[in-house]
């Protein structure tokens, strides 16, 4: 008796790229964790929920210290999907997998200031000629984003570089999301829910009421997001 065995479909491997939030701890770690607590309190659930990558380039930690840090973050609802810029000897099965970032350490002062990198940044621009509607989310880690319409309440714009909006900004705009403190946000009318540059946030509550409905720019001064009118 013969039986027919259907041919097995060959297994396919698919590569996909994803955008993730990168957290880069700074020494001393205890203060950094306290700072994260402060941020979660201020900015609500921004990095609670979505997967987070831990960039350990600025700190030297033992395996058990990394395990402790990952557990601490998990207790705050921050789920670490991977670790980068760490000695492979310090990782293991008990820790999230080691990632290799193509752009290198984003907090590296030398890399951030190198002209080659800036030139490449300047070349990449995403132009959107339609309004960004509530619930839409635009991620463009490679450079500037220009929007010709408005950004609706409940919409979200994340750019590696600067953000230019020629309509009204009613949603959230996050510029310099990959560690670019020189990024700015421009809009011809501001009613924003949240502005962020290089991870520093400002919610609508904290913005000067006198600025509403005016054309403004936002930039980073030290650790504070500053807003001034353009007219």
């Amino acid at each position: 008796m013969t039986s027919f065995v259907p041919p097995r479909q060959s297994t396919r491997f698919i590569c996909r790229s994803y955008t993730a939030v990168v957290l880069a701890p700074q020494p001393p770690i205890i203060e950094w964790v306290a700072d994260i607590d402060e941020r979660i309190k201020d900015a609500g659930s921004f990095f609670v929920g979505p997967p987070v990558v831990l960039d350990l380039s600025a700190v030297t930690l033992s395996k058990s210290a990394i395990e402790h840090l990952v557990t601490e973050l998990e207790q705050r609802g921050v789920r670490v999907m991977g670790i980068e810029n760490v000695d492979p000897a310090q990782t293991g099965a008990s820790l999230p997998p080691l990632l290799r970032s193509s752009r290198g350490a984003s907090t590296d002062a030398n890399a951030a200031g190198s002209p080659v990198r800036d030139a490449r940044r300047g070349a990449a621009t995403l132009l959107l000629d339609k309004p960004i509607r509530s619930g839409q989310s635009i991620f463009f880690p490679d450079g500037d984003v220009t929007v010709l319409g408005s950004v609706g309440s409940g919409a979200e714009l994340v750019a590696g570089g600067s953000i230019h909006i020629y309509g009204t900004l009613r949603g959230r705009a996050m510029a310099g999301s990959h560690g670019n403190a020189r990024a700015r946000i421009f809009c011809s009318k501001i009613e924003a829910e949240l502005l962020a540059i290089d991870g520093h946030y400002l919610t609508a509550d904290l913005m000067d009421k006198g600025l509403r409905d005016r054309p403004v720019q936002a930039w980073l001064e030290g650790n504070a997001v500053r807003i001034t009118t353009l007219d």
Partner: protein, 271 residues
Amino acid sequence: MAKVVVITSGKGGVGKTTSTAALGAALAQSGQSVVVVDFDVGLRNLDLVMGAERRVVYDFINVTQGIAKLPQALIRDKRLHTLALLPASQTRDKDALTEEGVLRVITALRQMFDWVICDSPAGIERGATLAMRFADAAIIVTNPEVSSVRDSDRIIGLLDAKTVRAERGERVEKHLLITRYDQGRAARGEMLSINDVLEILATPLLGIVPESEEVLRASNLGSPITLNNPGSAPARAYLDAARRLMGEDIEMTIPSDKQGLLGKLFGRRAA
């Protein structure tokens, strides 16, 4: 060539079903053949507003599942012979709708009518996405208040992403219908102004329907407002909107029930 129009909003209670009945009747009153389709499976209302609730035998789901033929489920309006209703099922839920089933029914309705008007359920889930899926045009019903406007903005985004036309790179024609507009409250700043709504949604205006007791009265009688009291302010707004939908160029006004001085002195309202 038939036109499939979805009446949608995201938010509930803004007047989708009332507007579906009123616009469907208005189009039929001008001689077009029209079918209004209730996509609110499980919470059907359109049959009540159309006054056809006692004549429902088969429904949309029965047709998609092949239990009934389309002509068996269609209910002809008693007042307007060019108007028909395809009722939703009240005993099932939105999961009973399938994309293939909806496509089959919409394709068949395109052959039979000039206008296929789909009354979308609230929300952005299966019922709402299937109601807009095969639309050529959309009427976004919005009340002049912030939550309704933001939900409409979300729906416009979905219309530009999740419809068959959008996926083919074609445009879904979009019209904004502002309902429950109260000029007095807008003037006092208790309501968003028309300009605020238009600026936020950046979508062309189809009409402005004033808040009126006549709307509720017509619903309770099971008669579209444009049939029940064609002279009332909301009915005039819907009749104008229907003509704009047919491509006529009509000046935008907000009809009013306010009586003039002579009316106050001599007349009672003709209703």
